[in-house]
Amino acid sequence: MSGQQIIGFEGVGRSFVHRDRELVATRDITVSIHEGEIVTIVGPSGCGKTTMLNLVAGLMAPSRGTVTYRGERVAALNGRTGYMTQSDHLLPWRDVASNIAVPLEIRGVPKAERQRRVEALMDLVGLAHFETSYPAALSGGMRKRTALARLLAYDPETLLLDEPFAALDAQLRLRMQTELVRLSRRLNKTVLFVTHDLDEAVALGDRCLVFSPRPGTIVRDVTIPLPRDRDMVALRQDPEYRRLCGELWEQVAPALDATASEFPEPLPS
């Protein structure tokens, strides 16, 4: 456990109405996330992993229980969080530099300062010399880097990442994972990271929350006893890492065996 509690869930449940029928997506979630932690979230689809991120971001309100952020109830959009999903959501009509500048423009940062910060961010995520490319001309990895730089541009304390690397090939994913851990540690971000990939959940997380099938709730809260600064490539050979992955597989397997949900997981809207 690193710093103080930053996110708190107290008996949180969320239901949706679907075809006049109440559908319980998640129930009885009680968990506490600490500052600077990287927490990965796994579970079968439709179990409410994305719902959990949406609740922290204030994109939806809980049906039961309370969600708190730094001790205060999340009532409106939580501007101290930043969201990134599988789709990078770049603006196709803006080049890389001006995509990264979007949050700075919104916050009214003066132009000179904006340019300086965009340049620093591009260096940080390894995008130097791509400033005038449009997203359509970029590879998947470069687009992710741009989205990450944009996310970091307004310096949210907490990063809500919903399978951000799911669409990347294995090699690229490894590189982006490395970058993510490096940056989160260096900037002391708190990270909630939803994934389908158990190996990724172990490789990235200080902790891993395992969800049950719907109605989803946290059935395991696994602490991952690997060092905070990890070498993603070397990790693949680490016996401790492999043991942890195997253990997690065993815990999640019963949940994954359960039939996949009949309804898709709702998007944050």
Partner: protein, 255 residues
Amino acid sequence: MKLFLGRALLIVAVLVVWDVSARTVTDEFFISRPELVAVKFLELVTSGRLFYHGWITVLETVAGFLTGAAAGILVGLLLGRNEGLARLVDPLLTAVNSLPKVALAPLFIMWFGIDLGMKIILTATIVFFLVFANTYNGVRSVDVQLLEILRLMGARERDLIAKVIVPSALQWVFAGLQLSVPYALIGAVIGEIMAANRGLGFLLQDAAGQLDTGGVFAALFAIVLLALLLQAVVRGTERWLTPWKVDGERREAAA
């Protein structure tokens, strides 16, 4: 190059069939002949009548096009971002839209007389609905998740409109504009045919009134040229305003 040759051959073939049939199966009086049309057209050019009347039609079309497009974009944005309002006015808009807009011409003549204003308003009405429908659908199809992500960054409604809604609606707006060019000409030319003493529509009607088939074809040819010109202007403007699309196309072409 092959395509270009094929197209040239096709046009020549049409002209030959036209010429031959005018001399044999049909009558020159009804369908004229390519040569006579060319002569008439040259006459129009050298006498300056083409430019005088063409200019009037351009004026009406462009003014109507701009007013209609501006109103269509504005209303499309407004209703696209305001679902309650959109539901409220939907039956009214659908009712007016189901009307062939040309049927409004007699009413507009009564209201605005037979001068340029009436053609501009008729054109604007036609263009408005096309651009409105496209803009509205463009605004509605903006990715909700993207908007949420920007809201978390602190974006207010005006940020969303300026940074996301307008640029992403732009491609639908241009689809609407492209579609509108021939319809804009319908407004102007029909208006002129019905009541006017100037414009390409008048030229057309005047030639028909004198049973001058060659003159009719020459006027039609002038209208086609004008339509192509306007289309090129819209396409050029689109390319200029949406450079990222060209970038993507180039990449595909290179791949």
